[in-house]
Subunit: 431 residues, 2 copies
Amino acid sequence: ADRGDAERLRELLGALHPADVADLMGFLSPDYREEVLAHLPSDALAEILSELDTEIREEVLETVAPATLAKVLEELDSDDAADVVDDLEDEKRVQVLAAMPETERTAIESSLAYEDETAGRIMQREVVAAPQFWTVGQTIDHFRREADGLPELFFDVYVVDPAYKPVGAAPVSHLMRAPRNTPLAQLMEPVTEIPVGMDQEEVAYIFDKYHLISAPVVEPGGRLVGQITVDDIVGVIQEESEEDILALAGVSDAGRNADVLDIIRARLPWLALNTVTAALAASVIRAFEGEINKLVTLAVLMPIVASLGGNAATQALAVAVRALASKELSEVNAYRTVFREMAVGLANGTALALVTGGVIFLLFHDVKLSVTFGLALIINLFVASLAGVLAPLVLDRIGRDPAVSSSVFVTFATDFTGFLSFLGLAALILL
Amino acid sequence: ADRGDAERLRELLGALHPADVADLMGFLSPDYREEVLAHLPSDALAEILSELDTEIREEVLETVAPATLAKVLEELDSDDAADVVDDLEDEKRVQVLAAMPETERTAIESSLAYEDETAGRIMQREVVAAPQFWTVGQTIDHFRREADGLPELFFDVYVVDPAYKPVGAAPVSHLMRAPRNTPLAQLMEPVTEIPVGMDQEEVAYIFDKYHLISAPVVEPGGRLVGQITVDDIVGVIQEESEEDILALAGVSDAGRNADVLDIIRARLPWLALNTVTAALAASVIRAFEGEINKLVTLAVLMPIVASLGGNAATQALAVAVRALASKELSEVNAYRTVFREMAVGLANGTALALVTGGVIFLLFHDVKLSVTFGLALIINLFVASLAGVLAPLVLDRIGRDPAVSSSVFVTFATDFTGFLSFLGLAALILL
């Protein structure tokens, strides 16, 4: 009966897409998961492995024997195999690599030699290349003969010179419609070469801009060493935009299956930093305790000035970080953008100052209080817009990620300015 | 000389990728832009048009004669052509469509009939389909004969039954390596059909999850009506994640070339809403003016409690919005996620309360003040984590976009709770 169940299970899992099986694994207990995976053939296991969440994959990898794992990894493209090997503990990594055939091992080792988040790391080494003088017919005949050696899927045939430098690319759908005697040199189109060390975010930008489906990756000398396909890029784009959202909110990525302790570790450091900056901003208030004692209404109104500044800064910040990420904000238009933000800050500040000033007059019957509040609001929204665009620009200029730590700086700037301008003006005008 | 210049200009622009020419257009004055575009052949103009930013494209479209435009649009895939037509003013749209051949006009009109941001709108109607009983050889021969009628690029041949319903897909790279006598039925793989009315965010999710390169789009009856390719999806993913970042920051999208007035329009409404909620939260302080008068230090410390709550809520909110977008947060694990957030809020609150409570004791030598501050911090961080995850969950459940308006609600909740818990506890414990 047990054997029949295993058969049935294999059948059921076989009918699902590996991505769905991977999702399913997330719902199983580790014991049951291990049992299920033991029943899968190595090619199915290979595909599921590269779909699993990192946390679950690490657990699964611990339970699979090195020899089995070596066989499983041979089924994967070099980039996916390298990803899996990267997750192994040092000892097991050595064992698994030792159990693999020479060529696969070399491919994985050289992939891991490239830095994380570079083109070298996300590329696959499997490419389809052909010399310029081949015809369409020769190329197709070659593919039919060497079918087993080809990558599982490919979209372009890279045309290379004798030094194996790419000189062009022929889309497969063009090859198929051309007469057999057409030379590749006539079919090929210019290619956008990706240097092996390029940052993955830059690669994603190029793919998006030029609507690329695949692109050849070249070594510093110009030699073709691999290719990146657009399906890898979809993952990179998701990852990069997720990084930006989380960084802006002051969270490190804790992963999908993070437990409470992981989450605390991902958030507490930012909160601690914010406590320090909030305390610094609050120290401004301490300097004006005398004023607040004279007019306690100041304590009621000052958080509104600070809060609106924070909101306005977040707006400017989010827009600037997105514009930097999509290269719409560059040195060329930086000045124009900064001036535009200053104008927006002044305009929004003035509009809100007029309305709130009016409301405050109706409530408190004190023109000086209205004027104090309004002026402070204008100053703070001006500073907020400026800080919101300058912080990411400066971080970007000095080579840091503009999404990370911008918010801490900007929140401090608007809290500090909010309290200082409102209480300072109150001391000057009101009291 | 002028003619020679035109020749040279065409040559220079011809050497650039249309996306680069479109970027270049952004730097030209409208007059010069018009002059340059007049020199371009209609196929080049077609490609540049679909790359231009919406604002510049609208300007350019106004200057091109309807008859020229009709010819230009014929060069584009139906989805890109529909995008351009959608940007035209009503009167010009009628003129341009009237100047186009019957088939192209029908294609564009039916594309525009689908709702914005649905599969029908981003798909192209040009597909390559073949009956099940064809062999690889027959298919390739057919492509060579009909080369002109094929889409510019394609990655899959959809295998259809007599009712034109897709039953499978053969990747072009598999077609090319298979012997000529292989029947398509043997080569084809299962396809993921996209219903024509599916939301584009959902389509992007499916492409990402299953690593699709192209997918057939079907009508309610199951008939093949078009295809979506992954390069369209890259744009959708960028767009959707940008929408989330901006919505979380309380900004409407003002477009790349927005002027100051557009930006103000995109930000002022959110700031106005925040003014109202900030005033509501501040009204809590007004109720405790007596307490602040007795101990003005309360006014110094209360913004720290509110600010840390705001930060903690933003963290929980960003994580929840991303998890909802990538479908990692669903009804199945909603309870677990909420409980986890509550635990994280309590833990982070307690950790920060212990440290800040200690510092406050060192500064003010008042245990009751330390306890008041610490307890308020724990309460506010608990509420912050809870509000940060509940607000997007509830909005999602009632069918609203969780990124939009979550922050306003959550900021209000943490400001309100921060002031109320600190000042309220101060009234109970301290005074």
